[in-house]
């Protein structure tokens, strides 16, 4: 094997920027040797989760291992190599009436990454996270062995791997259950809400009848209007509702270059958020949209991360327990408004019960996600401030998004971190699997 060339490696937020040697072979095992490595999928984690621990470190990209190994058309049980993309799952199985049981906000992720991040979606209040639908995983652990685990087999390894950010081993095979759907269409209802209390009440009220709910918040609104936005709820359309509908042909859009930083000035953002509110707020509307439009609106714009300019963006996503009420959310939105921290829209969503997986992100409560253009130290300081609010109310941040949280803050957010560490140490005592994120948050050697 010839030496791999050094490449620039970043998360989707394009901050921080690192360098690594990317192994893109499609072989079943780990690269030869003992070098520390980070597993990377399609590069959609925003922060440093899939960046090498040290500059020039080994990055294992197994997205070419993307074969479907079996599908049971009666039960929806799918077994695949972990590099299979969610976009492929949708393309192959939606026309046949099957849908991923849980999907994140982009389809450009691998099934393996859905496991490693224990992703959640608009149905978390009802169905929980991705890990709930797993029957079996196969990992290649640090010693090179293939190990099978699942809810009832090597359960601790399973619980440490789901949401474990790829730090327990290379996930090579996944067996999960898809969901039966009658059509590729979504019945979507949108309604404008005038403030945070109304938004939270609306999410709660919709939760019983709607499998998918989410809110979009104008996060530059201040004072009484904090939390103003649009409540969206959806369900899979029945065959009858979807009859005769043809898929629209969207033009492939892409952002060709880095946008200039002055574009995202507070005035423009305020105007954008306001316009969005005017357009989609207002009285209740019901219509039929494609599942792409409903679940993956941003996927329609290639390289949209370039809109945030050369210095990139940080995405901030936190969850706060239900008991904390609306106050910390108001505090966070107020703080963001005061900082004039430009963000397109913020996403708010109520979560159901937490999973048993040690590092899984969602917990019963409310999650808030927003983009912050990266402008150096002030942006990082803002996130530390927000983290303080989150910790004070018993919440936590999402590792798939995080790039700057401090280790001591992270430890306070994760009550089961010690349990997870113990399992990881058992399977990978030398921490061969490590990332820039695990160096930053867990104290791994760089």
């Amino acid at each position: 094997m010839t030496e791999l060339p050094l490449e620039e490696v970043t998360g989707w937020g394009r901050h921080p920027v690192g360098r690594g040697r990317v192994d893109r072979s499609d072989g079943p095992g780990l690269p030869a040797g003992e070098d520390p490595l980070v597993v990377r999928g399609l590069g959609r984690a925003y922060g440093d989760a899939a960046m090498p621990a040290a500059s020039g470190g080994l990055v294992v990209d197994r997205t070419r291992a993307d074969r479907i190994l079996g599908f049971d058309g009666d039960t929806g049980r799918l077994t695949c190599e972990a590099g299979l993309g969610l976009a492929d799952v949708l393309r192959v199985f939606v026309p046949r009436g099957w849908f991923p049981p849980v999907t994140p906000g982009t389809k450009f992720v691998t099934v393996g990454a859905c496991v490693a991040c224990d992703v959640h979606g608009k149905n978390h209040h009802r169905d929980g996270s991705f890990g709930n639908f797993l029957e079996r995983l196969v990992l290649v652990t640090a010693d090179g062995r293939r190990v099978e685990c699942g809810p009832a087999r090597e359960r601790e390894l399973f619980l440490a791997t789901v949401g474990g950010m790829g730090l327990t081993g290379l996930i090579v095979e996944v067996t999960l259950k898809l969901r039966r759907v009658e059509s590729p269409w979504i019945v979507l209802e949108t309604v404008g809400v005038d403030g945070l209390e109304t938004m939270l009440a609306g999410l709660k009220r919709s939760a019983d009848d709607w499998p998918y709910t989410v809110g979009w918040i104008d996060c530059l609104a201040r004072g009484r209007e904090v939390g103003r936005g649009v409540l969206m709820r959806g369900r899979h359309a029945t065959a009858m509702e979807a009859a005769g509908r043809r898929r629209p042909r969207g033009l492939p859009l892409s952002v060709p270059v880095d946008a200039p930083e002055w574009l995202l000035n507070p005035l423009f953002m305020r105007w954008f958020n306001y316009l969005y509110y005017r357009l989609h707020g207002g009285t209740l509307r019901r219509r039929l949209v494609t599942h792409e439009r409903f679940f993956y609106p941003l996927d329609a714009v290639g390289q949209w991360n370039r809109l945030y300019g050369r210095r990139g963006l940080l995405q901030y996503q936190c969850v706060l327990p239900r008991a904390a009420g609306a106050a910390p959310l108001v505090a966070i939105l107020d703080r963001l408004g005061a900082a004039g921290a430009a963000s397109f829209l913020a996403v708010i969503k109520d979560c159901g019960p937490a999973s048993d997986a040690y590092l899984s992100f969602p917990m019963e409560g409310t999650t808030l996600a927003l983009d912050l253009a990266y402008r150096g130290a002030p942006t990082e300081a803002l996130i530390h401030e927000l983290n303080t609010v989150v910790i004070a109310h018993g919440g936590r941040v999402y590792l798939a998004k995080d790039a700057v949280t401090r280790p001591e803050d992270f430890a306070r957010m994760m009550p089961r971190l010690a349990e997870w560490r113990a399992v990881r140490d058992r399977w990978d005592p030398g921490h061969r699997f490590r990332s820039a994120q695990s160096v930053r948050l867990l104290g791994d050697r760089a």
Binding site: T2, L4, P5, D23, R24, S25, D26, R64, R67, I68, L69, G70, F71, V92
Partner: protein
């Protein structure tokens, strides 16, 4: 279409086999590694309406086994009407130059084996009224480069053969499609410096499927390489000598 496919387990072949299977064509896999063939067959079965997907052994380096492999594909498909060969060997110039055995093996697979197989298949298809032979050559065969002429020579020979095969067999009902990929991001090219205009296997596959349905005898993929190679072929020798290319 009922397609006997050599090279469906990896790279552009994997993407092309999927594109064919997903739209309902029958595919039968030929190759060296039975375990890999079985995995890819399961993948194609899950993706397409035609199951089961069969497979049989074929080594492009051993022409003696071709007849049996084509027989197996014929049986599996109930009479094949197309042969696709995406499989081949690749080596870096410096590795091939340093290892005569490896060079000989590459020439054997990319030229001798592929030529004998396509010739045999064309004769079979002509005898039953017609069909399609589609094989992957390379832009590397269009003009010699000092950094890649050994691999390029094997593909140049293949391109000339496919051109001639099309001339000879078209009136007997057999179309021949020579695909010339430019740089495409696959496991084969992993680790090589990525030039401008690099393509993705899925996009190449979509273009090849269209060309298989149409009547063309040659396809550059991604399409821009047609124009790039037009320029490169026109470069004076003095220029090629001077640039490290």
């Amino acid at each position: 279409m009922k397609v006997a496919f050599v090279g469906a387990t990896r790279g552009m072949g994997r993407a092309l086999a999927r594109a064919l299977a997903e739209r309902g064509d029958s595919v039968f896999l030929l190759g060296r590694d039975a375990a890999e063939l079985a995995l890819s067959a399961r993948d194609l079965e899950a993706r397409g309406p035609r199951a089961p997907v069969g497979h049989a052994p074929l080594d492009l380096g051993r022409p003696a086994g071709f007849a049996a492999a084509l027989d197996a594909a014929d049986r599996g498909l109930g009479g094949l009407d197309a042969l696709v060969v995406t499989g081949g060997a690749f080596g870096r110039q410096e590795d091939l130059a340093a290892d005569p055995a490896r060079l000989a093996a590459l020439l054997e697979v990319n030229f001798t084996g592929t030529v004998v197989l396509c010739q045999q298949a064309a004769a079979r298809l002509a005898a039953r009224g017609g069909g399609l032979v589609c094989a992957f050559s390379s832009v590397a065969g269009d003009r010699a480069r000092r950094s890649n002429y050994l691999y390029g020579a094997s593909k140049a020979g293949l391109s000339v053969f496919l051109d001639g095969l099309d001339l000879a067999y078209r009136e007997r009902g057999v179309r021949v499609l020579c695909v010339k990929p430019g740089f495409v991001r696959t496991a084969m090219t992993a680790g090589l410096p990525v030039p401008p205009f690099a393509g993705e296997p899925e996009a190449v596959a979509a273009a090849v499927v269209r060309a298989m349905d149409g009547g063309r005898h040659q396809l550059y993929a991604p399409g821009i390489w047609r124009w790039i190679m037009l320029v490169i072929r026109a470069l004076p020798r003095a220029v090629l000598r001077r640039v490290q290319f």
